[in-house]
Amino acid sequence: MAWTAFLGLAIVRPGVDAFERRLVDVCWNIPSEWNAIADVAMKSGAVDSNIDGKRAPWRQASVVPVADRRLAVVTVSDMRRSRASLVTDDYKVLGRFERTTADPALVTDETRAYKPLTHIWPLVEHDGRLLTLVAFAPLKSEPPTTGVFAYLGVGARDSELLFVCQLRWGPGPTYVLLDRGDLDGGGPGDLMLYANGRRDAAPVAKFQWDPAQREYVATITGVAKPLASWWTTSSSNRVTIQPDAAIDDAVSPIVARFGSDAVLSSRPESR
């Protein structure tokens, strides 16, 4: 009788997954155990563990604060294609997007605090989307001063490309640092470029969000022009990316249109 009940329990597994999820709650507080969050998210089906129809061989999770709550950024990857899911502590997926990159350093990210694949700055929630800056080259314990960066609004149904820029170093050397400012203005925040990383000086370029046109309006000094190329969304030309499409495919044509040293405000075909 006891054996029959035991075997019956093993077949039905009543409450085992819920119990496991409850146990793993403590892992949200321990950085070395964050990957258990990814395991539970995949096991529960909240996060698709397959990449290109095969079970992804690699996973990772990190926990980031967003306003008054925290989210787990769960990445599954085969080191060629990666899917990032932004998951609440009750394993609800608020948004996800995919990346294609052959550079493992972009995916595994050796340095602390910077996650070039998914979020360089802390995530910000705005208008039902999670705003995040992602990089297209690995960052080695450095703020964004060189390479291509995309500012995304990540949602549950799709992601919207808000801003793309390419930063480069000039002679001297001179460079600009990309930073986010004024998040209380009701929009996704303004973006600034600071010469040689000097946040205490006035920005050499400012991209202010225009809520009426839903685009960034640029104010650029001569210093910044040779160091940055940029693209902005607009109300007439929004670029949305489906969750299973790689954002790299949306960003690449924009970057391809950037001149080597000219500042452009170009817009690709809508996707």
Partner: protein, 250 residues
């Protein structure tokens, strides 16, 4: 029936467990419980030794408290209390897992000797003394890890390599230039799987003949014990929260 020295009994359990099945020698209850306590504690200590948390605590002890993390990867540092708490959690987890292994034996013995309490007591005594094989298993896991990591002469380096692979799922010291993706097979569920398959083999050959009722051939007793043990393990396996166990055991 004769009572024998616990040490002699343990030595026989280690060297020729099958010989226990032929004899009617007994252990006192105190000796049986003491031996089981000693062997399970030793196995838990050895299992916890091969744990990510041991590496983290050791790193904090030898380097600095600020280094109680996985080093050059993308994680912020764990706090001292988190690492020490998790190290204790690892020991508790291993204790629970070995308790499951003992419980499986007790349950199977109960099924085998349901109407024969004398034989059941003998089976429990033998189970207690056979927990010496938990120590063998734990030592073998440490040795297997050293061989797998190519660090036979440097067990500490092998434990470090285990911790890094367990955490990162790729080899190599650098996340910037990671080696091939690889999952650590000797995490908790991997080690327990080996125990769940191998321990019943040893345990079942040490089971006594029934002292009353229908006499069965010894091979039948062994096969029944083995089959029921594996069945119980398969059922227990489905009921255990392995993600949490792997995380806590380190």
């Amino acid at each position: 029936m004769s009572f024998v020295s616990p040490l002699a009994f343990a030595a026989r359990a280690l060297l020729s467990p099958w010989s226990l099945g032929h004899r009617s020698e007994r252990l006192s209850a105190f000796a049986a419980i003491s031996l089981a306590g000693i062997f399970v504690t030793a196995a838990v200590a050895l299992s916890t030794l091969l744990s990510t948390w041991t590496y983290l605590a050791g790193k904090g002890l030898l380097v600095s408290i600020g280094e109680m993390d996985m080093g050059r990867d993308d994680l912020p540092a764990d706090s001292v209390s988190q690492v020490l708490g998790a190290l204790a959690g690892s020991a508790i987890t291993w204790t629970c897992l070995l308790a499951v292994a003992v419980f499986v034996c007790v349950a199977v013995a109960d099924a085998l000797y349901h109407h024969d309490r004398e034989a059941w007591r003998m089976a429990i005594e033998r189970t207690s003394v056979l927990t010496i094989w938990f120590v063998v298993w734990a030592l073998l896991m440490i040795a297997a890890n050293s061989v797998r990591q190519g660090e036979v002469r440097h067990p500490a380096a092998a434990i470090r390599a285990y911790a890094q692979l367990n955490q990162r799922w790729f080899r190599g010291p650098s996340a910037e230039n990671p080696g091939p993706i690889e999952r650590e097979p000797l995490v908790a569920h991997g080690r327990v799987r080996i125990l769940a398959i191998a321990f019943p083999l040893v345990w079942s050959v040490a089971m006594p003949q029934p002292t009353r009722g229908r006499r069965r051939a010894r091979a039948v007793i062994v096969l029944l014990a083995l089959t029921l043990s594996w069945l119980a393990w398969a059922a227990a396996w489905r009921l255990l929260p392995w993600v949490a166990i792997d995380a806590f055991a380190g």
